[in-house]
Amino acid sequence: MQLDLSVLAPHAGFLWRGAILTAEVCGLAILGSVVLGALVAIARTASSRWLRGLAAVYVDLFRNVPFLVQLFFFYYGLPELGIYIDAFTTGVLALSIAGGAYASDAIRSGILAIDPGIIEAAEVSGLSRRVIFTRIVLPIALRTSIRPLGSVLINMILTSSILSAITLNELTGSGRIVASDTFRPFEVYAVLLVAYAALTWTVSLAVNLLHRRMNRGITQAVA
């Protein structure tokens, strides 16, 4: 019963590659979920009742079903449809879709927080609805929702550990391999625990900095 971290030294490179994979998956998935989230947020604030209802169903569904179940649904279900994609793509896809539900909530509240006067002014200026959305509503909404989007990203980093269940050897998956190689599971998982905490802590610091930088002019009004 002695904490001996030196046994992990030969495996540091392997774990590092796992961490890189985690970063890649999360980077792609946050991109996917912000795009999807923005589209769904537009649908949820649309004037069409059908569109709003459909988007609400999507968000409700993916927020109330465990991610592991969603992941298995895609991982085992997609080949059934004749779509053969590897664990990495499946993981990014599943994370994007699940993250999109959370991101849409963040962006939606950003859209709803916009002063209606701004949109009226844009309408009066004769801008088309598409231009109002892409040039006025979305930039403001994305800017004010950086902080909630940051917590979506942090949640995604933690959730990405579940991808080890579909044979993707990201940080947790690599940890499992190292643990069974060295017979030192306690040391391996303790290091992983601290590594994840350090990673998410750094990300939340970076998000706060970004939030402050992007909202320099309007911090008082929105923060």
Binding site: L68, F73, A165, E187, L192, Y196
Partner: protein, 223 residues
């Protein structure tokens, strides 16, 4: 002989899995609520070293994947402390501690939501610190914290799906077994997802009921 068709007994299996999931959810939620509230109370009493240590522990548990925590307890503890940990014990320990960490944060903000002037007034009237906590802070903090707590519990219900990875026969594990036997991923995972969804909705419904009751004293009753 291979049974690739669904049998009536599969319904019993699913019901068993749902029962295991719900039982573990209820047990870990109850333990987590008590434990997290106790952590918050040590902070209220400003217990010197303990409250800082608990705050750090809560931060660590909140910022690392539940899966890694689960592996640390299930694989790490037996190797390190030379104790036997069954899958159900590991699930109980991990999920309770994880829930407690989130409850701690909610309880602390609940306590802090009560105005300082109220506490000072109560102290001036000669109430002890315990009486202030029990009679003045607790009722208001409970009403304040119910909303976030229900959201947390809905989330924790989904987190229980992770224990299938260490071999607890919960709903997700049953889904896995049925999926591998029948090779009908869409049917199996849709049913499993639906059961989780209904359970989550049930938790949210009960939570909303409790919240209305706790907030009854401040509700608008009309003139």
């Amino acid at each position: 002989m291979r049974y690739t068709e669904f049998t009536p007994y599969d319904i019993v299996l699913l019901a068993q899995g749902l029962g295991v999931s719900l039982a573990l959810f209820l047990a870990t939620s109850a333990i987590g609520l008590v434990l997290g509230t106790l952590w918050a109370v040590t902070r209220f009493y400003r217990v010197p070293v303990l409250s800082q240590a608990l705050a750090f522990l809560a931060e660590l548990l909140k910022n690392s994947p539940v899966l890694v925590q689960l592996f640390l307890v299930f694989f790490g503890f037996p190797a390190f402390f030379r104790v036997n940990v069954t899958p159900v014990e590991a699930a109980l320990i991990t999920l309770s501690a994880n829930t407690a960490a989130f409850v701690y944060v909610i309880a602390v903000s609940g306590i802090e939501s009560v105005g300082r002037d109220q506490i000072e007034a109560a102290r001036v009237f000669g109430l002890t610190r315990w009486q202030v906590l029990r009679r003045v802070i607790a009722p208001q903090a409970a009403a304040f914290a119910t909303g976030p707590l229900v959201a947390l519990l809905v989330n924790q219900l989904q987190v229980t799906s992770l224990i299938s990875v260490i071999g607890v026969a919960d709903l997700t594990k049953i889904g896995n077994i049925l999926n591998l036997r029948t090779l009908k991923p869409f049917v199996v995972w849709t049913v499993v997802g639906l059961l989780y969804y209904l359970a989550a909705k049930l938790v949210a419904l009960i939570g909303a009921r409790i919240e209305t009751r706790l907030r009854a004293h401040s509700a608008w009753r009309g003139l």
